[in-house]
């Protein structure tokens, strides 16, 4: 795959598809929900750690040595990455109540911590896969199972108790089973697209930088 094809077609198409798929909310009716302002801010943090780790080398997307058209493609990739990051975060944050606040705060702290830890590309991709995967399981398996209307008497009793104890702050509005599949698809596509981003030529290891063929040097 040529760089031009990747920058102009594959990456923007992948990230915009993440934006589209991530916006789908299937409940009583189908809605397309754009990312919230909070998700957009967290999306910026994701872009920051992606650049910091070397998973994305901005100089390979924008620079005076590139043509205007190539730079324009680069800007589009950066914008699409930001929107897709925000949308994936919006997908992973629960719809309402205490879990929404909890997940939001957790993601904010985690991304700030990741920025402070300054991981390299591989570690960042692993970290994001594990974090986003865990949040997906918590929201679309654990919370969904807890919130799903009970079929047995015992489950209905437990659900009523849980709702009473948490003052209704834990349970989520019911969602269609297809919503989980759409969310998983958008998450996987986002991680694949992150992997495809033009990476930095230098390999970072913590606070040390290894240039190709050079010795380790402190940064």
């Amino acid at each position: 795959m040529t760089d031009a094809l990747k920058e102009a077609v594959v990456l923007p198409a992948a990230f915009l598809t993440v934006v589209l798929l991530g916006s789908v909310r299937i409940g009583q009716a189908m809605n397309l929900v754009p990312p919230s302002v909070f998700a957009l801010v967290l999306g910026l943090l994701v872009v920051r750690v992606v650049v910091q780790s070397g998973a994305l080398a901005p100089q390979r997307l924008l620079g005076s040595s590139r043509s205007a058209l190539a730079n324009f493609n680069g800007v589009v990739v950066l914008l699409a990455l930001w929107l897709a990051s925000a949308q994936v975060i919006a997908v992973l944050i629960p719809e309402s109540g205490l879990p929404r606040i909890g997940f939001g705060v957790f993601l904010l702290i985690l991304l700030v911590n990741t920025a402070a830890a300054a991981p390299d590309r591989i570690r960042l991709l692993r970290s994001l896969s594990v974090t986003f995967g865990s949040l997906f399981l918590l929201k679309f398996v654990v919370l969904r199972e807890l919130s799903e209307p009970g079929t047995s008497g015992l489950k209905r009793v437990l659900q009523t108790l849980l709702e009473g104890i948490t003052l209704g702050a834990l349970l989520q509005p019911p969602s269609h089973p297809a919503a989980s599949y759409v969310a998983l698809l958008s998450l996987v596509l986002f991680l694949v697209a992150l992997f495809l981003l033009p990476a930095s030529a230098t390999r970072r290891t913590g606070a040390l930088v290894r240039r190709r063929g050079d010795a380790l040097e402190a940064r």
Binding site: V19, L32, N73
Partner: protein, 170 residues
Amino acid sequence: MTELRTERLTRFAGLAFTVVYAALIGWLFARQPQTVAQITGGLAATIGAYNVDAQSFDDGLRFFRNDQFVEARMAFARADPAVRDARAQFYIAYSFYRQGWGRLYSDDALYAQGAAAVDRALALAPAGRLVVDDEDLRMRTGEELKAELEAGRQREASDFNPMRVFRERK
């Protein structure tokens, strides 16, 4: 040289594709279509290629004039599956009005659905002006129908006027 040209072409085609794709996503966010028919109909309407099904529309009119309002709405919905035709939405709103109208009281739930339909009709009409040329109707503009539907849902002293029983359905 050819390689450079191919690269430029790829970049330009990619940019054009991205702009169209982003515009489509923006359009979907703004319109919030609920069905595939609404998506395809909405896109067709954007380029002026959307038409209602004339046969179903005529069926709807026939049912409407026979006071078969549920059937009329089904036929109008079939005629305008993408919810893009102001006239079909106007008749749907009118069917809610006529079905919900009563000599002593009006059905608030039906009137609310009628108000939503007339809002859709006005939003779809060019410059928000909707006039339906139909001799059988006593209200031929979107504004008249909207005002009637909204007035019917309000509680006021005139609701208790016994002379109300002599009013006529429009």
